[in-house]
């Protein structure tokens, strides 16, 4: 329990530190959001009034205090680009990304773990070598380019996939928003057609992500499994006459437990890098929102996006790390 509390506390501290850091960093940059909004030829009065409207004429400390107190009340301010509350925009875009990432992760896991384990059973064999080269290759690919390639092949040439214009066919009516996840919401609304359409649209982005994710996951599973299968304790379990099923369970638990922490780290990284896939497929997730905000120097949106993504990454990382510690008693000492 103490262990959990300590990790949780540390994560909170990290978030606070992050918030402060991002706040000061963007203000320390030479970019001028006011100039961007009012344009190059604006008059001095227009510039000053704009600056005042954005709250940037106050001393930095005042801005900080105001922002911190707002955030403490759950208010991330209004976007300087759209004027809408940032919280609302994030609420709209975040689920898109989470849905994409989570489905991709689950599928990548389902594909990579058996493959990694199979390779570990015959290390050095042809299948193992081939899979190794594949995983090395897949893990070093520019996913946005592969997204485009998939679109070219499966949409432009073969016509199997829909046009990369978002999550649903523009002709269809989107379901009422409950969770924000297209798969869940369409099912909740009982709209089969929309559900299938949504899945159809997710096909290519998920395939691209699974392709790239499978590289490191296969490598990691294989490595852990080889280590477990070649370990002294597996050898000894066999020497004690344990049944193959029992030996396999021991090996599996020992192989997958260390993978959890790494998966948590990977999830966090991928969450931030979802930008690229979202842009290629026009999905409207938080990654695209981040791009728009950064290019427009939209301070409140930027701060909120960084914090939200970091919070989710830290949370996922923490949960998986805790599960790992629960499985492996050596970690909580």
């Amino acid at each position: 329990m103490l262990f959990v509390a300590r990790r949780l506390g540390f994560a909170c501290l990290q978030l606070v530190g992050l918030a402060l850091l991002v706040f000061f960093t963007i203000r320390a940059m030479p970019a001028d959001p006011v100039a961007r909004l009012v344009g190059m030829n604006a008059s001095r009065e227009a510039y000053l009034s704009s600056q005042h409207a954005l709250g940037l004429d106050r001393p930095v400390w005042v801005q900080l205090v105001a922002w911190v107190s707002d955030v403490a009340h759950g208010d991330f301010g209004r976007s300087w680009v759209s004027g809408a509350p940032v919280m609302q925009e994030i609420g709209r875009t975040l689920p898109v990304t989470i849905e994409l990432i989570t489905i991709s992760f689950v599928l990548a896991f389902l594909v990579s773990v058996p493959l990694g384990m199979l390779c570990a059973l015959r290390p050095g064999g042809t299948a193992d070598k081939a899979t190794f080269v594949y995983s090395l290759f897949a893990g070093s690919q520019p996913e946005f380019w592969w997204g485009l390639l998939f679109i070219y092949i499966f949409f432009a040439v073969l016509g199997w996939a829909p046009a990369p214009l978002g999550r649903l066919d523009p002709m269809l009516r989107p379901p009422p928003v409950v969770t924000g996840f297209i798969t869940v919401d369409t099912l909740l609304a009982g709209d089969w057609v929309a559900f299938r359409n949504g899945v159809h649209h997710l096909m290519l982005p998920v395939a691209t992500k699974v392709f790239v994710l499978s590289g490191p996951i296969i490598k990691m599973v294989r490595q852990n499994m080889v280590r477990a299968l070649g370990s002294d304790y597996v050898l000894y379990a066999r020497a004690s006459g344990l049944m193959p099923r029992q030996v396999a369970m021991v090996a599996l638990k020992n192989a997958l437990a260390p993978a959890l922490t790494l998966l948590g780290a990977l999830y966090g990284y991928v969450l931030g890098a979802a930008v690229l896939i979202e842009t290629v497929f026009s999905l409207g997730g938080i990654g695209q929102y981040a791009v728009r905000s950064v290019l427009a120097f939209d301070y409140p949106a930027i701060e909120a996006v960084v914090l939200v993504i970091a919070a989710i990454s830290l949370f996922v990382y923490l949960v998986l790390d805790l599960v790992h510690a629960w499985l492996d008693p050596r970690l909580s000492q």
């Binding site: 050095g124 000894y236 004690s240 049944m243 020992n254």
Partner: protein
């Protein structure tokens, strides 16, 4: 031995790794209830053989051929399902590194119980209870509680008992024990081997005991088999083997017995240590560990002082304090008239060249990116003459070609010779040798012992020889100091300590020490001086004698008063008020 059907009959067993044969046409017979010792240098194939008897092999090895008949049934000819049923039930295995052989994620009790249930069926609770009983029989205190521990939480000795519980629990006909005591302290080793021997005798199992330690074989085995390059090169009853070993391996290892122990060592006092103290604070809380607690001794020119003790005795810390690799917290250290503790950095650097060190792990002590020439040159300030280097290498028994090699190209024994060469390069007056042979194979150990003796005579150098291995200490030391939990409990000449120990701990240590002489077997002697239980934790030391909780002759006065060192009539120092009073 009556001619019964052998329990085990191996013919032509061959195991290969790629193109190389680890076991090449091996033959062996073991009679029921017999204890056979299998020995040979590392790499001879012993562990591979042990696994192959169960029909197992470490990947990527393969069993190429041969028969392994266990009570008439060829294990290798069976299908895997039937072989699995034999493992653990008819043949038990214990291996060298017990903690690594247990799954780190499961409690030890569960692992034992799973093994039982696989062979005997039954409920989970029943198997768990059996596991607890077995551990109690094996000498473990409080097994009900300790059964829930995880492998990384238990000591080496307990982990090894867990393996025995798994291996012997179903009453196998043959127990294969592969270096079961490596890494264990002397007293634990003796207890463990006794327990294993008795359990095997009681269950009626035959034992194949694989070890490089000939003293274990002398004390516990009926027969000796020597393995070399995968083949059997000698097979003799124990008394005959030790009287006249045929194969080269045995001859080399036993060659030191006939040689006289070192003489001399009576020059003027070179190093004087008085009341040395070192305390390590713990990371959490205010507790401290008294690693070194009032240690005093002298070393004369040309003498070797052996410092013996088990793990946690503080002997390594003493060595590091002398060199000021760790700063002592109290006491005086005088070297050649100079106060070592108060020396300024420049003086200390000069002083250090008189005081050298050789560590336990030969490879760790060599910078892997340097060549042997660089390593030795580091000791000699300027660019050394290649002839000077060659001479140094020759002094330690190495060819001059070795100079251009990196450390990883050498075996551990040769690496240690390089360490020694670096130490003697500056012609020091004293060398602190911290377990210099513990990491080496027995064969390499013989070479290093000879080398050290030779160098001492030629260079008139003194040694502080720190070790837990009493045989090695006996071969090299003029005087011996015994340490327990940070204190010297007895200090005397080699003859005094080895032939007539006075302190209860020294007695127990020497009783547990196995001698490579089958006519003086431990199992044949009465177990008089055994110490009960385990050492107290170094964090919570009792107020009186540290041994009082375990000493069979402890009295109330021992528990109350802190024991001080008394100098006896024959010149030795003894920290036991009771015995000193009795002798006065």
């Amino acid at each position: 031995m009556p001619a019964e059907t052998p329990i085990l009959r191996v013919r032509g067993l061959t195991v290969a790794f790629g193109g190389e044969r680890a076991v090449a046409g091996f033959d062996l017979d073991i009679a029921p209830g017999e204890i056979v010792g299998l020995t040979g240098d590392s790499g001879a194939g012993k562990s591979t053989l042990g696994l192959a008897l169960l029909g197992l092999v470490r990947p990527p090895g393969r069993i190429l051929g041969g028969t392994v008949e266990l009570e008439g049934i060829d294990v290798l000819a069976l299908d895997e399902a039937r072989r699995r049923r034999i493992r653990g039930a008819k043949i038990g295995l214990i291996v060298q590194n017990p903690r690594a052989s247990l799954s780190p994620l499961h409690p030890v009790g569960q692992q034992i119980a799973d093994a039982y249930r696989t062979h005997e069926g039954g409920t989970r609770a029943g198997a768990a209870a059996r596991a607890v009983d077995m551990l109690r029989v094996l000498g473990l205190n409080d097994p009900e509680r300790r059964v829930h521990a995880y492998p990384h939480e238990v000591s080496g000795g307990m982990a090894q008992r867990v393996l025995i519980a798994m291996a012997l629990g179903c009453g196998p006909r043959l127990l294969v024990a592969d270096e079961p005591t490596s890494g264990l302290d002397v007293t634990i080793q003796a207890q463990f081997l006794d327990d294993m021997w008795q359990s095997a005798r009681r269950v009626g199992s035959a034992v194949l005991l694989m070890t490089q330690d000939l003293s274990i074989i002398a004390n516990y085995c009926d027969r000796v088999v020597v393995m070399q390059d995968g083949r059997r090169v000698e097979d003799a009853p124990t008394p005959r083997f030790f009287a006249a070993p045929a194969a080269a391996y045995g001859r080399t290892l036993l060659s030191l017995r006939r040689e006289a122990p070192p003489a001399g060592g009576d020059g003027p006092v070179l190093l004087s240590v008085r009341g040395l103290r070192k305390v390590f604070p713990l990371r959490r809380g205010r507790k401290v560990v008294h690693a070194v607690d009032g240690v005093s001794f002298d070393i004369h020119r040309g003498e070797t002082l052996g410092l013996v003790g088990e793990s946690g005795s503080g002997k390594t810390t003493v060595g590091r304090c002398l060199l000021r690799l760790v700063e002592p917290d109290g006491g005086e250290v005088t070297f050649d008239g100079i106060d070592v503790r108060r020396a300024a950095p420049a003086g200390l650097r000069r002083l250090r060249r008189q005081l050298q060190v050789v560590f336990q792990d030969p490879f760790d002590s060599l910078d892997p990116r340097w060549t042997v020439a660089d390593i030795i040159a580091e000791a000699i300030e300027d660019r050394p003459d290649p002839d000077v280097l060659a001479r140094l290498l020759r002094d330690v028994g190495l060819d001059r070609e070795v100079a251009r090699l990196p450390p990883r190209a050498l075996g551990l024994g040769d690496q240690q010779r390089v360490n020694i060469a670096r130490a003697i390069a500056v012609r020091p007056a004293l060398i602190v040798l911290d377990e210099p042979t513990s990491a080496l194979t027995p064969l390499a150990r013989v070479g290093i012992i000879r080398l050290l003796r030779d160098l001492q005579v030629r260079l008139r150098v003194s040694y502080l020889f720190i070790s837990h291995d009493l045989s090695t200490v006996a071969h090299l030391s003029h005087r011996v100091a015994v340490m327990y939990l940070g204190q010297i409990v007895e200090l005397g000449t080699r003859a005094q300590i080895f032939d007539q120990p006075l302190h209860p701990y020294s007695k127990a240590l020497l009783a547990a020490h196995l001698v490579a002489d089958p006519s003086r077997r431990r199992v044949d002697q009465p177990q008089a001086e055994a110490l009960a239980g385990e050492s107290p934790s170094p964090i919570d030391l009792p107020p009186g004698c540290f041994l009082a909780g375990r000493c069979p002759q402890a009295e109330d006065s021992c528990r109350a008063a802190r024991q001080e060192v008394a100098v006896l009539a024959d010149g030795r120092a003894l920290r036991c008020d009771r015995v000193a009073a009795a002798l006065a």
